[in-house]
C-alpha cells in the first residue's frame, strides 16, 4: 500500500530535491539578487523557501512564450513563384516537477485547469506531465488574502503533495495518485506521527491571514456597482495600466498569438498578454471596446470575480496578493472586491478589523 503521509528531516531536504531532479525537470524557488523566482534546479541553486516567489510558477505549464507550431515555405518545383507550406509542431514535454510553490500558486493551476485542460493540448500535456509539490505557507505576507477566496495557507487544490515545514523537518501529505508516487521513496520516512503538528501549524497560519471581504466564493458582487462607470473611474484613477499585476498573477491566462518569420521558415508563437493594455482589444478598424483604464480594470476584476465564476463555478483568483504587493500604486484588488460586494465597505471593514485583532 502506498503511503499517504511522509516525513523528511531538515537535513534530508536537499537530498530529496536532488533525487527528484533525477526523475524530473525540477523547478524550485531560487534567490536571484533580491528576487525569488522559479528556476530550473541545479546543484548550486540558491533555494529560498522564506517567502513566496515574485511571480507565480505558472510559466512552467503555461510558458510566457511558446511555439504553437513552426512552418516552412518551400518553393514548388513546377512554379517557383508558388510555395508549399509545411507545418510542424513541437515534441511532447518531459516529466516535470515544481517544488515549494505556495498553495495559492498551486490553486492557480486548478483555476486554469477547467479553462485549458479540455481544449488546449499544450497546457494539457504539460499539466499531465507535471507533479506539483506545494509548501504550506507558514504565515501571510503583505497583501495576502487567500482565506477571503476560501483558500488557505494549506490549500491542497491543484497540488499533488502538500509539504508543511515543522521544527525538525517536513511533513508530506499525498493529495493525488501522482503525489503518492512521490512519497513512495525509501528516503522518505513514514509521516503519520507528524500529522497533528502539521495541522496545528496550518491552522495557526490560517488564522493570521487578513480577511478582506466576506462571502468567499459566493461573494455577492453588486451589479449596480459593477456596471457603474463612476465606480470604476474613481477606483482606477491612480492605476498606471502598467500590467505588472497580470504578469505575476497565478490565474491570469490571456495571451497573444503572433507569427515570426525569417526567410522561408517561421513559427507561430503564443505569448502572455495583458488585459490592462489598451491595444489588447484594439481592432484594426480603430474601434476599441476598452479604451479606458477603468474599462480594462473592470475587465480584470470582473473576469476573476464575476465572469469566471459564471463560466466555471469558482472564483478566478487564489488570493496570492502579488498584484497588491507589487503594484507600484498599491491598488488593492481585495479592497476593490470588498467595495464591489453588496455588503459594501462598512461590513467588510469590520470583518477585516475583526480578523486583525
Amino acid at each position: 500500500m502506498k503511503r499517504e503521509a511522509g516525513f523528511i528531516p531538515k537535513d534530508g531536504w536537499n537530498a530529496f530535491l536532488a533525487s527528484l531532479a533525477k526523475r524530473f525537470n525540477l523547478y524550485v524557488p531560487c534567490r536571484e539578487g533580491e528576487t525569488i523566482l522559479f528556476q530550473p534546479y541545479h546543484a548550486e541553486s540558491v533555494i529560498c523557501l522564506d517567502r513566496p516567489a515574485a511571480s507565480a510558477p505558472k510559466g512552467v505549464i503555461f510558458p510566457q512564450s511558446e511555439t504553437l507550431f513552426s512552418f516552412e515555405l518551400k518553393k514548388k518545383a513546377e512554379d517557383p513563384r508558388k510555395v508549399d507550406v509545411e507545418l510542424k509542431s513541437e515534441g511532447a514535454p518531459q516529466d516535470t516537477a515544481i517544488v515549494a510553490l505556495r498553495p495559492c500558486d498551486a490553486r492557480g493551476f486548478s483555476i486554469l485547469d477547467p479553462v485549458y485542460m479540455d481544449v488546449d493540448p499544450y497546457y494539457r500535456s504539460r499539466r499531465e506531465k507535471t507533479t506539483i509539490i506545494t509548501l504550506a505557507c507558514p504565515n501571510p505576507y503583505p497583501g495576502c488574502f487567500c482565506t477571503s477566496v476560501e483558500s488557505s495557507p494549506a490549500d491542497k487544490s491543484g497540488s499533488d503533495v502538500l509539504v508543511t515545514e515543522l521544527d525538525n523537518g517536513y511533513f508530506l501529505e499525498a493529495v493525488t495518485e501522482k503525489g503518492r508516487t512521490i512519497l513512495d521513496d525509501n528516503a522518505i520516512q513514514d509521516g503519520a506521527g507528524y500529522k497533528e503538528e502539521a495541522e496545528g501549524r496550518q491552522k495557526a497560519a490560517h488564522d493570521r491571514v487578513k480577511k478582506a471581504f466576506s462571502g468567499g466564493k459566493k461573494v455577492k458582487i453588486s451589479q449596480e456597482r459593477l456596471l457603474s462607470d463612476e465606480f470604476w473611474e474613481e477606483t482606477t484613477a491612480k492605476c498606471l495600466s502598467c500590467g505588472a499585476c497580470t504578469y505575476l498573477c497565478p490565474t491570469c491566462y490571456c495571451f497573444n498569438i503572433t507569427d515570426e518569420q525569417t526567410v522561408n521558415r517561421g513559427e507561430r508563437i503564443r505569448s502572455w498578454d495583458s488585459c490592462m493594455f489598451p491595444h489588447f482589444t484594439l481592432e484594426t478598424s480603430g474601434h476599441n471596446p476598452r479604451t479606458k483604464k477603468a474599462q480594462r480594470f473592470k475587465q480584470r476584476v470582473g473576469h476573476k470575480f464575476v465572469y469566471y465564476p459564471e463560466q466555471y463555478g469558482d472564483l478566478g483568483c487564489s488570493g496570492c496578493g502579488r498584484c497588491i504587493r507589487f503594484c507600484p500604486i498599491s491598488m488593492e484588488i481585495s479592497k476593490v472586491v470588498a467595495k464591489l460586494s453588496e455588503e459594501g465597505e462598512g461590513s467588510t471593514k469590520d470583518a477585516a478589523e475583526g480578523a486583525r485583532s
Binding site: 515555405l73 508549399d84 507550406v85 509542431s89 491566462y253 498569438i257 507561430r268 464575476v306 465572469y307
Partner: protein
C-alpha cells in the same frame, strides 16, 4: 489526445473576386480532400485565415452550407493580415481554422418574414444566410434586404445584388451614404433608410450586420419600429486571436464573441448590459 485547435488546415485559393477597391472575395478549398469532403458548417460561423509569417484574422464563411464546392471569405484590406491576404494570388496557400463560433438560428426563423439590414462588408455574414434561405426558399416568408454602402463602388457581391433585385420573392433596397445625382439608388444612412422602409414587426425577424456605429442605430431603430428584442439578431466582431474563447479579448462579460457568438440576439446583448 485532444485535437489541436491552433493548427490550421492548409488550403488553396482557387478564385479571387475583386468586390470593391478594398474588398476581395477568396474562394478556397482545403488541401486535404477528405477534410474538405467532411467539412460541415452552419450559416454565420466564422473561420480564422492565416498567412504564415504574418498572422491570423477572423472572417465569416460567407458561402452557404448548401453550396460546398469551396469556402468563401470576403476580406476588407485594413490591417497587417488583410493586406497580406490581398496580396495573395490564385494557387497560393492559406491556413484555415474553421468552423468557429455559433450560427444564425435559422430553424426558429422558419415561416417568418425576414428583414436583412447590412452595411458595407457587413453583408458578408448576411449573404450566407440569404443564400441558405434562397436555397430553402419554401421554408421562409418574404425576404427584405436593406443594404447600404458608402458609395456605388463600395457594394459587395454586385452580381448577386443584381440577381436578388430581379427576384420576385426578394425585396432589395439599396442605399449609399452619398449618392450621385440621378442614380436609381436611395441616398441615406442605413438606419435612416430602415426607418423609411419601416418593416412591420409582426412575425418578422430582423438580422443586421455592419460597422459598429451602424449596428448601434439599426438596433435602436428596430426597437422603435416595434421589433421584440428576441427577434433582432446581429453578428458581432472583435479583435480575436485564439477563436476558441481563451485569449481574453472578445468577451462580453462571461460570453465570448468568438465561441459563444458571433451571432447574438438583442435580448442576449441587453441581458449582458452590452452597449455597442
Amino acid at each position: 489526445m485532444i485535437e489541436n485547435p491552433y493548427i490550421p488546415d492548409l488550403a488553396t485559393i482557387n478564385e479571387i473576386i475583386v468586390e470593391t477597391p478594398t474588398i476581395k472575395t477568396f474562394r478556397v478549398t482545403l488541401n486535404d480532400p477528405s477534410r474538405m469532403e467532411a467539412f460541415r458548417f452552419e450559416p454565420g460561423q466564422v473561420g480564422q485565415l492565416s498567412v504564415f509569417g504574418v498572422g491570423e484574422a477572423t472572417f465569416v464563411i460567407n458561402s452557404p452550407p448548401t453550396r460546398r464546392d469551396f469556402l468563401q471569405f470576403s476580406v476588407m484590406k485594413a490591417g497587417e493580415v488583410t493586406t497580406a491576404i490581398h496580396e495573395l494570388a490564385v494557387g497560393d496557400q492559406l491556413g484555415v481554422r474553421a468552423p468557429l463560433g455559433n450560427y444564425f438560428p435559422y430553424e426558429s426563423m422558419k415561416g417568418k418574414k425576414i428583414v436583412f439590414i447590412g452595411g458595407g462588408i457587413g453583408l458578408a455574414p448576411l449573404r450566407t444566410l440569404i443564400l441558405f434561405m434562397l436555397d430553402n426558399r419554401a421554408d421562409y416568408g418574404p425576404i427584405t434586404i436593406i443594404y447600404g454602402a458608402r458609395t456605388h463602388n463600395d457594394y459587395c457581391y454586385k452580381e448577386e445584388l443584381k440577381e436578388w433585385g430581379e427576384r420576385k420573392d426578394v425585396e432589395l433596397i439599396l442605399t449609399v451614404d452619398a449618392g450621385s445625382p440621378g442614380a436609381p439608388i436611395r441616398e441615406g444612412f442605413v438606419p435612416t433608410v430602415l426607418n423609411e422602409v419601416a418593416p412591420k414587426p409582426e412575425e418578422t425577424i430582423a438580422i443586421t450586420c455592419g460597422p459598429p456605429i451602424m449596428i448601434k442605430f439599426v438596433l435602436q431603430n428596430l426597437v422603435k419600429l416595434g421589433f421584440g428584442e428576441k427577434e433582432i439578431i446581429t453578428t458581432l466582431e472583435a479583435r480575436m486571436k485564439c477563436g476558441i474563447g481563451l485569449c481574453g479579448r472578445c468577451n462580453i462579460g462571461s460570453h465570448f464573441i468568438c465561441k459563444d457568438g458571433p451571432v447574438f440576439s438583442l435580448a442576449q446583448l441587453n441581458s449582458w448590459n452590452y452597449e455597442i
